[in-house]
Amino acid sequence: MSTSPSRHPNAAAAEEQPLSTEVLLCVHDAMLRARCLEERLIRMNKQGDGFFWVGGPGEEALNASLGLLVHKGQGPEHDYLHLHYRSTATLVAMGADPMDTLRQMKSVATDPYSAGRNFCNHYSLHRWNVAPVSSPIEVQFSMAPGTALANKRAGGRGITIVQGGDAGTAEGDFSTCLLWCSRPGHELPCLMIVTNNRWGISTLSTDQLAPKHIVDRAKPFGIKTALIDGNDPEVSYRELKKAMDYVRTERRPLLLEAMVSRLYGHSSASGANFVPDEPDCLVLFENKLEERRILTRQAMDALRGKYTQELLDASKRVRDEPQPKGEDIWKHVFAERDGASKPDPKGSG
């Protein structure tokens, strides 16, 4: 990476407190399942089983950790998530069924996130407070203060988490979020995450963004910051937990910048081919797990083979599911029930 997180004053030292083996295994499992899912999605797209792929290979260390740490559920007592289209591992770690992601890829009527209306990895899950992911970059940063205000009013430990990339911070919505979450006397419990992969499609952010680090932009607002190596799941888990604990208890915002990789380019529009010259968080983590004798190479390969096969089988089943009907376009233009104030009785934490 061009930026060395260790040079930043807030940079996290990986060697602080070791995570338990149980946590390491959970993080690894979620990262691996998310990676296998992304690889299946890319293949589906290349085989014509889906119009477009965009996703988050290279962000798994951070996003899986986030998903495991979220206070999951519906309503302002729980965490609200305003994610971006690279947040696959977050949903996987939260327990979302990968089959549902395949359904969205195949645009079938059974896609629970958009009923065949949106691109893959554009999640929306009311029962877990996952706000609809939309393709316009950074708009989620303008919405986050609203849910954070509701979190604050609810008086519990629920917080708002909003995530976007480095390129998106050029939008005014990023400034909006900094501004609205730090109004003097009205600070909001909002964790802002920027996953910095150094790219906006084909444009290097170092050519466009003058601040040395994106977190530096939070300083005039008095917002606490963290700059971390998002390719290291141990650092990511620990620093995210620390950041979330701070936002939960202090009820104030925090901006966390995580340096990550973009392992298959921007999207299928740029080919979705593996980029060999960026660090691969999964490979690096598996090497560590092997060195520390937490998992054997054989066990990890077997697990990868199992998930790959399961997803291949699932993708075949998805092909047989019905496409939405043309007349379905008229459904849900307007809300028939009051979804926001009357929680779905089926919804659960």
Binding site: F141, G146, S341
Partner: protein, 353 residues
Amino acid sequence: MATVVQAIRLALHVGEERLGVTDVFGQDVGPPLGGVFTQSQGLKTAWNTPLDERGIIGTAIGLALAGQRPVAEIQFCDYAFNMIDLLKLAGGVSWSSAGDWSCPMVLMTPVGSGIRGSIYHSHSFDAQATRIPGWKIVMPSNPLDAYGLMLSAIADPNPVMFLAPKALLRAKAGRNERIPGEPEDDRTLSKMIDAPLGDRSKWRPDWPDVQDFFIPFGKARVCREGRDVTVVTYGRMVVVAAQAAELVAAAGVDVEVIDLRSLSPYDWDAIKASVRKTRRVLYLNEDTEVTNFGEHLLRRTVEELFYELYAPPRLLAGAHVPGIGLADSLERASVPQVDQVVAVLRELAAHQP
């Protein structure tokens, strides 16, 4: 009798007390000012925001997603153009999530010309607004409708745009248009709910016990019955149409004036019934004429009622120029005036098939 702006304030108060409104917010909306038009004076949930329209609408969406009941204000609709994508997003919350989420919020914003507001305090927004699916859009022309439409807007589970014709904000109710429960005398009402000039820090409103009065969306109001020509309009142009109708009545032309009140959904049945009766129709509004909401209604009229018409249907709307110029002559040349409406009504009435 309440003015339009007092009616809006009373409705927001009822919203806070009985309909769960949690936030009335925007730039200068909270104390001490209570809105540049006084629309939010004395409201207990009113608060001031940064001068950031994207933040205002974005925060409203977030609040709505989290089960709050926000009423957000953009001080003039002229300043809503930098958040069109967020309006599109709010309108798409239900649809894009296949009904999983809804976005119950109200966006109120003053619209239109008539106060000599120059280039950036005179825009209309109905043409833009009606191009954004997923929103309900209302535009009152009198205090009672402002009150009833605002209560319905607050209660609706969808995003609702409340377009307030700024030139009518001080207009008073006509007879028999009293808000249920408002004081008989307008001075009494003013003393109860209008903030005093000067130091307001200790002032509290004394709210009258106004009653619920919901006006359903998609129901037009026939504000003048007639048999010769129909005018379909809304907002400030309702008043202009009524004046024009009186002027041509002297010449024996009997005009029916329909106030749509709600643009999404709109009352096609009411339009159809009136046009079938008069067989002559004028669509009237003050937004710019190219890709205008009236054009949509006109297209539908041609497609569905062509053989029932006695005259080509007409649209009278604003000039397609970038803004409303400040000089009186410029503003008058930019938006429909009574004499122009009179001329079109006469032409329509005289036209023989």
